[in-house]
Subunit: 648 residues, 2 copies
């Protein structure tokens, strides 16, 4: 089983990624901290708030907001010192420890606002979610500090884990319940990874197994039971984010894990859940979990994922809609969900190096995820549309639910851990490259140097700094690459391809050796599955890992992007350009624009003229990378563009 | 100015409408009452609830729920006695009066749950909304009882009005504020209509004028001021139904009335608001209000209305989206908003009989509105999609926000007031027919009998029961009728057409005279404006006032309605059929179905094959009236159907 090479062994030196990572440290993290302070979140951790105080009442999400800032900043500090950030992290940690209750409980809402209601609404009150994020922060900080022997933060969170291990489980006197928003499960598995404490696996598995079960000896669904216990009637009660009562599918708790055949509900939750399911499967050997992951993955990728890798098509419950129903203007595609894809695919790639899985990781990384942050790092997207109308969307500094910005920052500052895998085949060291990002990576005893022109050109070179033991180098061949080449020291090298990964023969590499891998990036049109009604008659543009979009700011003479008609036979010409300071490759192509007919009479959405033809004018289009949209002022954007036909 | 002929002078005897009206009385109203009881709303009016009681905490919407039931039932009882319903109405009225505070305040939430916070959050706490609906109930009950001299309900609500006239206004010591959800304004105008109390007009106008103003001597926006006064920071605070802080546009309070040039925000609110604006304009002569209504109406009808007459394309805030952005699967098209169109158009037709306005009234009536209730009256729609996927929508018995069912019932039981107008031209009586519904109507001293085959055939006859004074009969010629005929006693009659209304010469009609009006209903295809991206390449079907849809239940061999390709040149054949017991006219036509290609590999929403062609098979389609969809079990429905092209 190939382990991901951890971020501690990867250094990123990338003409593409450096600017994004840098602004996340210089701009985003300070902005996040300042928003946490101005909103009241940060200071609430001092535990001085009481009923009747002015300002915002502490919220069930605040623990996770603070935990995620601490975690993201801990990653950033690992790579680059920053005294202010270091002080903030230490302050945050001290406040978290200070806020912890005697018995280990962590959660300011149920300490300050509704004491005595602990655990009463696990489905909705985000207790284990907040605790889980703080636990992740402790694990990350521990690793980032080099695993010191004395670590009061980790000690505190171990005490929290002791508490929840006691509270939740199948025993008499224990609570037979499980969280709504999954998070604690994967956090427990991260703790297990550094402590080896099997009780973490047991509890994570308990939550996974128990979820959605109603069979004997249970008296019904755990959340029905909990609702009645607190005086809510599950036939009537439902929170504002459910359309009606008992939407357990929203949280993937409508059925036991082995019975779930479709991916449903909240996208971020689904990704966090399945990530933990893979973790527990690998720790316990429970193959049926991997079968469920495979089935749900296929449902998602075949029919519930946007061309950008974004997931979630329904705003009202932030989640998956029906198969092949992918509206563009109202795509939800939450940034956190794209990060969830990184987390899940990283784990799936432990099970097997499958290029189809890593292709999706790459797709989401360069498109759905990266669109979540502005080029200058100062604003963020929560939901990510694939089209706007009347300038209906722009990034923001802050959201009441503040999960996405810190999530992007923690991803960018730990992304080294998502690039490579390593294992042994019989006794031979194997080094697997899932994603092509410049920098250095330690594999076994050797340091490899990776240089790449990704994502603009598919040329990558790999060499060691010092002679390696015999190593099998395994490279992902992206599914979009119709042709590729692997050279060793300038000569074509024999290689096996299994599941889209090319394995070179085992070799003890010397600093004189160089592997040159080139995946040919060719701009092309994409058409959607015919059941995706929204995209019928439309084309999108892709080149390598980058999916493209039109922006109105580049087309001042086009009155509305909805009037553009592209020609699937016209050439797509890559051009070097800049979005603000960032060099990118754009795509030029010739197209037409429909002349807007004057509004003749009030037509209430339908007009009784069939085969209405319109005049058209030629236009030259410039497509830009989707991730870079919305950085040059307010305007419209569109990914799927209507193709020209004689009906106008 | 033509006054609507009130419901008290109209009797509906309609082979089309009778069944809908009957089930609203026999099924819907009893269901509504039983839900109000089982949820706790009804009994909360007894004012015995206290903090800590089990069950649902009384909600700010409950006053309006009870008021709307009482109002709808009052209308129903006017037409048809029912001892149980009479008892319930009297009980409701007694509870309302019993719940009223000493000083006249009406509103159980701020009496029981948050006393002392009265008026503190007018934007959000629905106080004047609840009071307004109860006021409407009192006015309706008064009229329905024949305007008795002693009316304790009306007395109680007059006391409420005295209170709010004192509280709100420009004077020192008064609150310079106005409600979020508009309703009180039109309720005050209804009271004015029966009492002649000008203070109602003054207060309604105050609310209308003040809305959105920030100019001196004001210290800013009234809702910013109110937020700070109660300790909320308007830079941060926002309720869950706003995407971010300060979404005053959501409630049409982002600018003063004369500056508003586009219709925005919550659709129901917009309709209630504009209805009251017309009322106040007519009572004060304020022409600028009518200009605003005209401008916003045009924006709505030209570019923000569905082909069914539904309005509201954005779920998250239940309102208008950008121009020409009309998603079908996620159309909001709230049933209450379609009823709002009835209310607004009824008032607009007082200003001028304009067939373009009455056409929209008819469109919404037979499509967007009627779709809101099942044929058996037992279930309702809140939002009304124009397409479903994977059976994603069905009507429900109950919604946590329970506004639509009682609204439909009150409309159906008062619809007589939306059909006709009367006025004098110089001194000659004029009788205007806006909508064609069978029954009787009193015009002046005469009773007219109307018989019609609407909406299935355009043949209508009108005759008096007793000789009339000289009367100008004025008939709307629907915009969809390319040809029509008006006969008087079998002979073509000379008539002027102004704004789409045909005026016959003044005549003293005798019982021997008969007017036969025939508007030719021809099934036709509709195409959408090219900026409506969602409908490009699609056609819809209409015949007369009825807009049609496909249902999967009629097409068991079609795997998915999204694969149907209709032919704009194929004949559309009207056929008599039944939906359950209801005779309707369906439309048959020949079309094709695309063969679904097997899923070759995970394609994540895009496939890199252009000009993919598919096999197709012939199919015979049966379109059914959109209002009747979803009555024959769970299935899919679609209004806009893809047109066949060679790309598949």
């Amino acid at each position: 089983m190939a382990q991901p090479i951890p971020f501690t062994k990867v250094k990123i030196v990338s003409s593409f990624w450096d600017s994004h990572i840098e602004v996340s440290r210089k701009e985003s993290l300070p902005i996040i901290l300042s928003k946490l302070k101005s909103y009241g979140t940060w200071d609430a951790m001092r535990m001085k708030w009481k009923q009747g105080d002015p300002g915002v009442t502490p919220d069930i999400l605040w623990d996770s907001d603070v935990g995620k800032y601490v975690e993201a900043a801990s990653y950033a500090l690992y790579h680059e010192q920053n005294p202010d950030m270091e002080a903030a992290v230490n302050e945050g940690i001290d406040m978290i420890i200070g806020a912890q209750q005697e018995d280990g409980y962590v959660g300011i809402y149920h300490t300050l606002v509704e004491p005595g209601k602990r655990w009463s609404s696990l489905a909705h009150n985000l207790e284990l979610y907040g605790g889980g994020h703080i636990l992740e922060a402790a694990v990350t900080r521990h690793i980032a500090l080099g695993c010191p022997e004395n670590d009061k933060f980790l000690d505190a969170m171990n005490k929290y884990v002791d508490l929840i291990i006691k509270e939740f489980g199948p025993g008499e006197g224990q609570r037979h319940d499980y969280p709504g928003h999954q998070e604690i499960e994967l956090a427990l598995m991260r703790l297990y990874e550094i402590t080896g404490d099997r009780r973490c696996v047991t509890l994570a598995q308990y939550f996974i197994e128990e979820r959605g079960r109603t069979d004997a000896p249970r008296d019904g669904h755990a959340w029905d039971i909990a609702a009645r216990a607190r005086g809510d009637d599950p036939d009537f009660f439902f929170p504002y984010y459910w359309p009606r009562p008992r939407c357990y599918w929203h949280m993937q708790a409508h059925a036991p894990i082995r019975e779930q055949k479709e991916i449903v509900g909240h996208s971020v939750q689904a990704m966090y859940w399945l990530s933990s399911v893979v973790d527990v499967a690998l720790a316990t050997g429970e193959q049926s979990y991997l079968d469920t992951v495979e089935t749900l993955w296929k449902d998602m990728v075949d029919a519930k994922m946007y061309v950008t890798g974004g997931i979630g098509s329904v705003h009202i419950y932030e989640g998956f809609g029906p198969r092949y129903d992918l509206p563009n203007e109202t795509s939800y595609a939450e940034t956190c969900a794209a990060i969830g894809i990184m987390m899940l695919t990283q784990r799936m790639l432990k099970v097997r190096a499958d290029a189809a899985v890593a292709d999706v990781m790459e797709l989401a990384l360069y498109n759905a995820l990266l669109a979540g942050i502005s080029l200058d790092g100062k604003t963020f997207n929560y939901d990510n549309p694939l089209a706007t109308v009347a300038c209906s969307h722009k990034r923001s500094e802050w959201f009441k639910v503040f999960c996405c910005p810190s999530n992007i920052c923690r991803f960018l500052n730990s992304m080294g851990g998502y690039l490579y895998g390593t294992d042994r085949v019989q006794d031979t060291l194997r080094f697997t490259v899932h994603n092509y990002v410049g920098g250095e990576v330690t594999v076994g005893q050797s340091t490899w140097v990776v240089e790449t022109e990704w994502p603009w050109h598919g040329r990558t070179s790999l060499r060691v700094k010092d002679t390696s033991e015999p190593t099998i180098v395994r490279l992902r061949i992206p599914g979009w690459a119709k042709t590729y080449e692997i050279l060793l020291n300038g000569k074509a090298v024999k290689h096996e391809v299994v599941d889209g990964y090319a394995s070179l023969p085992a070799l003890a590499y010397t600093p004189n050796d160089v592997i040159n891998f080139t995946a040919d990036m060719v701009a092309e049109h994409l058409a959607a599955h015919p059941l995706v009604h929204q995209n019928r008659g439309c084309l999108a543009v892709r080149r390598g890992p980058i999916v493209y979009a039109l922006e109105s700011v580049d087309h001042p003479d086009v009155p509305d992007l909805r009037l553009v008609r592209i020609d699937g036979a016209a050439a797509l010409e890559p051009v070097d350009m800049k979005i603000l300071d960032k060099p990118v490759v754009g795509i030029r192509t010739r197209a037409t624009v429909v002349d807007v007919p004057p509004q003749e009479k009030s037509s209430f959405g339908g007009e009784d003229k069939v085969a209405r033809t319109h005049g058209e004018s030629p236009v030259e289009l410039t497509f830009v990378p989707y991730f870079a949209w919305g950085n040059r002022g307010l305007g419209d954007m569109r990914v799927w563009i209507q193709e020209r036909s004689n009906r106008g």
